[in-house]
Subunit: 336 residues, 2 copies
């Protein structure tokens, strides 16, 4: 029987569950509002029933490998608990893995959502055929994940990939983490909205002001639309996003010289608006990136690209987790 | 017969050759001036005869595994050539490995000197018993190296570890690499001397001025002596070194969350002068470092420490290269 895995993208606002085959085929995706106000047990109950529905639909002729769950927070991999997740308040130390495993009677693996996105891109996205990859996810916050030697890199205490808190402007804007000048303060959707509202308040852009007045959901997407329509202030905001990303990526490229760095998350839809200034910074700041550019004909280089899998990167990577776990179990008796 | 490896530290000014056993015992070290003005062939000729002397001394009851060579430059690992080394001008594209192998009839492995230092620390230094480590070497320039999963990490085009060119002050001092605000411009021995001479020129430190006047070799060590003697300007210079290091290390810790980051090279002798401000930056800028501090009782944490092996880190790591190569050859028939 063909193997099947379930991928879960569990966010503070929405949750998505997908049935995915071992070649990346998405059989079905179902969605629901997380609606945290219901409390942990009711949310988990709905998630369990969404997963059960999908498993039942496809169980007749497929073998369930397990369930992978991506969460925008810090996870204790050993205990399978959520340590903290800023968009899922009140769930600190909740035993997510045990809750799901005992309800579903199947193996459950948790990981950070950006690690899942990185794994998805490595599997069937921008890093296909490569062993090493760095992923930046630009959403409400900025997340990051590394795949090294084909596997998610968790670090000594499971906190690798906190790329949103790299200092890109050492004495810059304050961040809730206690630092100043974090990448997240310059390249997240939240930062883009904030910069646009600051421009409006300072009377710098009548166009942005008009859109903000009319649009109760004024957000990074609306700022992007203004940039596309030619508003110079909106364009300058995305240029600053690219500059901040360029500083962070130049440092990461100089450090690890990975073959590919992938920019994903909702903000990556504005690639045309921020990538030119990002690439200018990379060319200026990274001797390793420049050396790679000279070698492109030799196939060995460092590439910075937008996500191939877009909003499905994390969901696909989550489903990949139980597939990798099964592979490593199968291989271990032979490994030296 | 007990295995033996030769480690070589080949710098622009001096070269050192050591005979080292597989438990790290240094049997003998010999030194010579590189004296580049003689030209590639004469320098290589002397290096070959130094290595031969050591091998002959110990060959009777030991089996030579090979020769590892650490060089402060960018190496093409496949061809065994030196691509560039700023302190070894004129040797670009020289076939170092072939030259040594054909003269010595033994396997030769080249690597960057900071990668060698990282490997030495992983083997019998600050990263003993750990699989992953990051090393910063603060000398004339600033170098870097990573050990990941027990092995030197070279990156897509062999340029990983260019940590001296991480941007720590985005619009800061110009660097020969084309960037502004590189770590090397704030934390190398060259930068310390430059900052001290600037302070003298600006009339900010009579004590530094007096030492600079008397001392034809006025260098980072002399600035450190002034700091130890209480000169406030010299102390401020080392504080700024620590601040720059702290920004770079905070970013590296947030990114990879390795268990240990090692600061080596000659400037690390001034640890007492720069490390307090470095640790202040780490606590302020790295949520991952702070989380690790809270977990120290659990053994899992991220530590920043000075080198354990000091000036021998690179030499020991160079000797380790042929030992690792032999291990992987022995293992490969069994590997899956």
């Amino acid at each position: 029987m063909r193997p099947l895995a379930i991928g879960v993208d569990l966010g503070g606002t929405n949750m998505r569950v997908a049935a995915i085959e071992d070649d990346g085929t998405q059989l079905q995706i179902i969605r629901s509002a997380t609606n945290l106000a219901r409390g942990y047990e009711l949310v988990m109950g709905e998630l369990v029933s969404m997963i059960r529905d999908l498993v039942r639909t496809f169980a007749a002729n497929r073998r369930l490998l397990g369930i992978g769950v991506g969460i925008p927070g810090i996870i204790d991999l050993e205990s399978g608990t959520l340590k903290t997740a800023s968009n899922i308040p009140g769930w600190n130390d909740c035993p997510l893995r045990d809750t799901l495993e005992s309800a579903l009677q199947a193996p459950v693996i948790l990981d950070n959502d950006a690690n899942c996105a990185a794994l998805g891109e490595k599997w069937i996205g921008a890093g296909r055929n490569l062993n090493d990859l760095c992923m930046l996810t630009l959403g409400t916050g900025v997340g990051g994940g590394f795949i090294l030697n084909g596997k998610p890199w968790h670090g000594a205490i499971g906190m690798a990939g906190e790329l949103g808190h790299m200092s890109v402007v050492p004495e810059g804007r304050g961040c809730a983490c206690g630092n100043r000048g974090c990448l997240e303060q310059y390249a997240s959707a939240t930062a883009i909205r904030r910069m646009a509202l600051e421009a409006v308040a300072a009377g710098l852009s009548p166009q942005l002001a008009g859109v903000a007045d009319l649009n109760p959901h004024f957000d990074a997407r609306a700022v992007f639309d203004c940039a596309v329509a030619g508003d110079s202030r909106a364009r300058a905001i995305f240029e600053s996003v690219g500059t901040a990303l360029g500083v962070a990526l130049a440092n990461l490229i100089n450090a690890l010289n990975l073959p590919v760095y992938v920019v994903g998350g909702g903000v990556s839809n504005a690639w045309e608006a921020f990538s030119p200034s990002m690439f200018r910074q990379l060319s200026k700041r990274s001797i390793v990136f420049r050396a790679g550019e000279l070698q492109q004909s030799q196939k060995k280089t460092t590439i910075v690209t937008r996500t191939f899998l877009q909003e499905n990167a994390g969901l696909l990577g989550a489903a990949r987790l139980p597939m990798l776990a099964e592979q490593s179990t199968r291989r271990s008796p032979l490994a030296v």
